[in-house]
Amino acid sequence: MRPVRFNIHPKEAKLETAVSMAEAPNGYSGEGFFTAKLSDVVGLARKNSLWPLPFATSCCGIEFMATAAAHYDLARFGAERMAFTPRQCDLMMVMGTISKKMAPVVKQVYMQMAEPRWVIAVGACASSGGIFDTYSVLQGIDQVVPVDVYVPGCPPRPEAILDGFMRIQDLVANESIRRRNSEQYKALMESYGIE
C-alpha cells in the first residue's frame, strides 16, 4: 500500500489541529469581553505580520531564498509578504557582505523605513565583516544602523535564519509601545546620526 496521506491521517481533517493559531495574550475574559494589556495585543499583531525587506548581497541571500521558499517556509511566521520598498516594511534583513561603498545605501534604506522597524544581520559578514577584514568592507552593519538580532554562520543555515527571525518576533511581541518615544531610543538614533 502506498503511504499516501489518508493512510496515516483520518479522512476527516480536524480543522482546529490543521490551522496554526496565535495564542491569546494573558488577560481576563468573561462572557462577551476580554481585557488585556494594549502592548500585548499590539505586540501580538505586529509579531505575526512582520513584513521583511530582504537586503541580500551575497551567499547569505541564497540561504534566505531557501528560507523563504516552500521547504523552510518563512510564511509560517506571518512573514510571507516580502516587499522591496522600505516604506512598507517592518524588518530589514541584511544578508551578505556590505562594502563601505554600500554602507550609505543600507543607512538610507533604514531611514526610509517607518517606525517601528527592526534589523536583523544575517551571517558573519553583515555582523562583523566576516573573513573580509579588508579596507573595502564595512566591519559589521552595526557601524551604520542599529541591529536587533545577529545570526552567526557563514552562511547560516535556513534553520538559523528562522531562529533569528523568531528572536525578532520575541522582541517585537515584548516591546513596550512607548519604547520608540523614549529618551534612550532617541539617544540611540542620534548616536547613528539618524534624525
Binding site: K100, K101, G129, D133, T134, Y135, S136, Q139
Partner: protein
C-alpha cells in the same frame, strides 16, 4: 606567415631602437618596457602598424615595487592582436613621487575606466584623462589601498586581537 614574437621584437627595435628594452618571453607571452614618456608613441605604433595590429586593450593595471627606487610603480598594458591572435605585455615604470603617465584613453576607449581603477588603487596620475576620479572605492578614501605601504586589513577595527589577525606588528 603569421606574426611571431621575434618579428614583433624586431619591428619594435627597428622603430624605437634602444628605447624599448627588457624583452622577455614568459610562457610564450612577449613582454617589454619603454620609458613612460614614450608610452603613447609605442601604443600608437603597435596599433597603426600594418603588420602588428595590436588594436585591442585587454587589460591595464599597475604593480607596486616598493624596493625599486625611482621605478616603484609599473603600469602594464595587455594588448591583443585579434587578427593573428597574439598577445603581449607592455610596461612603463614611474617614480612613486611623481606618478604621471599619459592617458591611453584617447587611443582605446576601454582605457577610460581601467585607468580610473588604476588611479583608484595605485594613485597613478593619468595626464589628459577626461574624468580621473575614484571608481570602485568610496569617494572619501584618502589613500591608495593597493600600494604596499598600506596594510590590507581594515584599520578601524578595535575588537580583533592584532597578534591573531596579522595586523600591525609582527607575530611574536
Amino acid at each position: 606567415m603569421s606574426l611571431t614574437n621575434d618579428r614583433i621584437k624586431e619591428r619594435l627595435i627597428e622603430k624605437f631602437g634602444a628605447s624599448v628594452s627588457g624583452f622577455e618571453e614568459l610562457y610564450g607571452l612577449l613582454s617589454f618596457e619603454a620609458p613612460k614618456e614614450m608610452n603613447l608613441k609605442v601604443l600608437q605604433f603597435l596599433f597603426d602598424d600594418d603588420e602588428l595590429k595590436f588594436r585591442f586593450l585587454t587589460d591595464l593595471c599597475a604593480v607596486n615595487y616598493p624596493d625599486d627606487k625611482g621605478r616603484e610603480l609599473a603600469v602594464v598594458y595587455h594588448l591583443h592582436n585579434l587578427v593573428d591572435n597574439i598577445r603581449l605585455r607592455f610596461k612603463v615604470f614611474t617614480d612613486i613621487e611623481q606618478p604621471d603617465v599619459f592617458t591611453a584613453s584617447k587611443l582605446f576607449s576601454s582605457a577610460n575606466w581601467m585607468e580610473r581603477e588604476t588611479y583608484d588603487f595605485f594613485g597613478v596620475n593619468f595626464i589628459g584623462h577626461p574624468n580621473l576620479k575614484r571608481i570602485l572605492n568610496v569617494d572619501e578614501m584618502d589613500y591608495f589601498p593597493l600600494r604596499k605601504e598600506y596594510p590590507l586589513e581594515d584599520q578601524t577595527r578595535i575588537d580583533k586581537d592584532d597578534a591573531m589577525f596579522g595586523r600591525g606588528g609582527t607575530i611574536v
